[in-house]
Subunit: 351 residues, 2 copies
């Protein structure tokens, strides 16, 4: 007990992007686990599966045949959560029964024609192709929509239903809740300090060196001080950057490099294909597409569920859903474990 | 398409308790599912398991032997997320690295000495015993702590690691995030309308009859208009009630009755032990224990993950975590399905 610093005891930490507190209970990591055991993803996915609609030449349920693509391939989701058109709901003036119109579109981005590859096994140039596709999509859909959410669910335990390497885009006429919070809190901070919140944050993390997982000249990956998920990370630019499209060619190349390293570190941690949801957040689009938004810092977020091993995850359940986010290890411990995660996975040198 | 009302098309709904919007995409329920399949809980748990520390006479990992209890049994969690004492964290004046003290205690309530029973198979009087234990705990811990969260995780897929019927209590020196939101938004509504938000809401749901799952003289169970989880429900009192301890003997009996019916309806829906997290929220405790809080309505919340069957759940992942809550069926459809759910499970008559 004497050797444990005060940060290894229970405390609350503040997430300035969401303006909320998280309960950190590191002493709890010692408890035994006799609960649910996750399945480990099969490591062998065939390069081509004639029944997988994301593979070149296979017919999708809509009847459309996926073309013989060579790099990335983008199509509109056959079962989208958001449609471009639809009847408007009847509005109500009762504050307890408020309804609003939602319009949008959902797309799928296949990363590569082969099913048996992933970010870490692709070349730098191929990952840059994916990055360029992300940017193209945000720019194109951002002309029309207030928000373009790019996200990837990796692994069956994160709701992914197709093993082919891909991510999704849900573009919407409205600003989603999480984004609204980030908009408000970044704006508030900027008004007070005249510098972007996450830019200040990145500078301080570089100086503190306590939560860094991996970095290069342009990018920094940290376990945020206010992380909720056990091995959550944030990808931050080292220079001022409001939106994805403002990245230079050099920054795209170095982003590809660091994303590959990040995946290798995740996969090495518990020697498995580490499941996660990840996505990108940057300055608002639609009406705001051409507006300078100096309070915004473009960044990526990785939310992985595993806690103790490839088969034991953190459950965000009773207390977390009804009361408050809670975590079982500190961000510093998570960062130290992650930074040290080298092993047999992946083709990227860990030097 | 013609027979579908506008509410069966995509729209946003407002949750007035959290002041946030939810995306409703009912057309999406049609998509095929080839993702993760949950395990169905084994229906056979032995009445007594000599290796289960929640059973009478079994030694826990702390060395304490669980006594030969006859009704409910409460003990302090051997691996608590919150401890009563501990060193204070070093505070910082940097807005990006905010830390605060957290104190508290965690307890476990065993519902009954037998492992093979649950709310639906217990007698009304036995469920009243559980209700009285909930109230006793909130009252006792509420003298010291600002908030007493009672919650139950039912089923392995909701992080429950012990099949013996039990729930948990996490009492804290701080007001958790979800509670802070409910406090703020109920107070705001009360100031504006001079009536409690959830009392108004219950009255309107009784009149509308569109989202009721089950009701009796004292209690109403609805799928809230702003439900996030597919078959989420809320248990609301029909008379003004700020906190659990204010319930009359009659109200406790009728609550036992309705909780039993609710479990039967859940289990009948997909013919399984329906997993969920559930818990109770009411007026603040600690300093506020004796303060009149007319804006508060005591209520229960059930958050169940299943979507389509006993094995296919809704994943709250990429879009939901990074952008906004999204659901695949309307609250009205969920309520209609739930209200009609009769079948072979449970011992409560569904007349
Ligand atoms: O204490 P338990 O039941 O082992 O733990 C369960 O409930 C807790 C409170 O919701 C969660 O933090 C854990 O992730 C979950 O596994
Ligand atoms: O569209 P998919 O990949 O089948 O669906 C997955 O991601 C969506 C967006 O996060 C979630 O709503 C679904 O629950 C999940 O299964």
């Amino acid at each position: 007990q004497d050797r444990i610093g005060p940060q290894e005891h229970q405390h609350l930490r503040y997430n300035p992007l969401k303006a909320e507190w998280i309960l950190v209970s590191p002493h709890r990591a010692l408890r035994p686990w006799s609960g649910q055991i996750e399945k480990v993803a099969p490591n062998v996915v065939p390069k081509f599966d004639p029944t997988n609609p994301l593979c070149p030449g296979v017919k999708r349920s809509s009847g459309i045949v996926t073309p013989d693509y060579k790099s990335t391939y983008v199509f509109t989701n056959d079962f989208p959560a958001l449609l471009e058109e639809g009847p408007e709901p009847e509005e109500s003036d009762d504050p307890l029964f408020q309804v609003k119109t939602a319009k949008g579109t959902c797309r799928v981005i296949c990363y590569h024609p082969h099913s048996d590859v992933y970010i870490d096994s692709l070349s730098n140039a191929q990952v840059v192709d994916i990055i360029n596709e992300w940017i193209r999509q945000i720019d194109q859909l951002g002309e029309k929509y207030a928000w373009v959410q790019i996200f990837e669910n990796r692994g069956a335990s994160m709701g992914c239903s197709n093993p082919h390497p891909h991510c999704q885009i849900w573009a919407s006429s409205f600003l989603p809740q999480e984004v609204k919070l980030k908009e408000e809190n970044q704006l508030e901070y900027y008004k007070r300090h005249n510098r972007p919140l996450l830019f200040d944050y990145a500078r301080k993390e570089i100086a503190k060196k306590e939560r860094i997982v991996v970095e290069n000249d342009d990018w920094l990956v940290v376990v945020p001080y206010w992380a909720t998920w056990p091995f959550e990370t944030m990808v931050l630019p080292k220079k001022l950057l409001q939106r994805f499209s403002q990245t230079s060619e050099t920054q795209r190349k170095s982003l590809a490099e660091i994303l590959k390293k990040l995946v290798v570190k995740y996969d090495n941690l518990f020697d498995c294909q580490f499941p996660y949801s990840m996505g990108w957040h940057g300055a608002l689009t639609g009406d705001k597409n051409d507006v300078d938004q100096p309070h915004w810092t473009f960044h990526g977020t990785y939310l992985p569920p595993l806690l103790r091993s490839a088969t034991v995850k953190k459950f965000m359940v009773g207390y977390e859903l009804l009361a408050q986010s809670q975590r079982d290890l500190t961000a510093e411990t998570a960062a130290a474990i992650r930074a040290a995660a080298t092993g047999r996975h992946g083709s990227v040198s860990e030097a």
